[in-house]
Amino acid sequence: MSTTETKNLTVDKVSVGDELPPLEVPVTATTVVLGALASRDWRPMHHDRDFAINRNGVKDIFINTPNNAAWFERYVTDWTGPKGRLGRMQFKMNSSVFPGDEMIMTGSVENISTDEAGCCWLDLNVAVSVKGEVSTSCKARVAIPIDSRDNPWNRKGEQWLP
């Protein structure tokens, strides 16, 4: 396969206010434990229910921060295609996501800009919600190609200004 055969979002296809397609994820204990171990996070509140309840005072084990980031990255690059290159992510956890929750990821385009190096940036507002409440909000800054020949991954040094 080559990139000409894969979907790649270019800036001419995006407008401020555009919404990313929502993603629904049923969360299980496996989701939480798999994510924690994949991110080498051995802390017990992400795999030991007794510890989570009795030490942390929460209702169950919960998704850890690096795995949260991985879910956001997957959500954003599902939409941009492989040429989408994350430059910055800022996220805030309001509440935890537990087994049994249905996680719904949503996002929208807040701003489109081109920096002094000619790199095109999208500023996205992305969120994870459970039962209609935002549990984690994320501001993601992702570089996408200006046209089919452009490739943000080629940028380095002073050409990469996230």
Binding site: S2, S39, R74, P82, K83, P162
Partner: protein, 174 residues
């Protein structure tokens, strides 16, 4: 309640802005962990699954940028090491020094630099940026602090910075 928490110790104030815990990754960056992470979030991005696309776009197989912190977490156990091994050690130091037994990561900002490639050896250090006044939230009373984790590859290129906004606290008395 907030009166029970002492002023910020000088030992903590002295750490602000000081690089600490400079260390290298315990193993070369490798694809096995990348696949585990992709599987955990069902990420089908061909940039990571298809070598030809990785070669075409980046010139090498790379790791997802958000895996940056993964590479610096110590093994749960290794020969000769006794006791619990923890990542973000400066965070745990602050909990201990300020007698705040519980903590949560309330927010996180990541800036991504050069792509992390398979076989890279990374270096990192932690810098305490700030410590707040005493605050009370729904989980307890304590202090917020911000720790930056700055990372570089074997060529000295900045590969990213993770900033953690933490809250160390004591749970309300029952």
């Amino acid at each position: 309640m907030s009166d029970e928490i002492a002023a910020i110790p000088q030992e903590v104030l002295d750490l602000i802005g000081l690089p600490q815990y400079e260390e290298e990754t315990e193993f070369d960056i490798e694809m096995g962990y990348v696949y585990n992470t992709l599987a955990a979030v069902q990420n089908g991005n061909p940039l990571y699954w298809d070598r030809a696309i990785a070669q075409e776009l980046v010139g090498a197989q790379i790791a997802p940028p958000t895996m940056l912190s993964v590479w610096f977490r110590p093994h749960y156990w290794s020969p000769g090491f006794e006791g619990e091994r923890t990542a973000l050690q400066s965070h745990f130091d602050l909990k201990r020094i300020m007698h705040l037994p519980e903590a949560i990561i309330g927010g996180n900002e990541c800036v991504f630099g050069a792509p992390v490639k398979m076989g890279d050896k990374l270096k990192t250090h932690q810098i305490l940026r700030s410590v707040s006044d005493v605050k009370t939230t729904r989980v307890g009373t304590g202090r917020f602090w911000v720790i930056d984790v700055e990372s570089y590859n074997q060529d000295g290129e900045h590969v990213g910075t993770d900033s953690y906004n933490c809250f160390g606290y004591r749970r309300p008395a029952k």
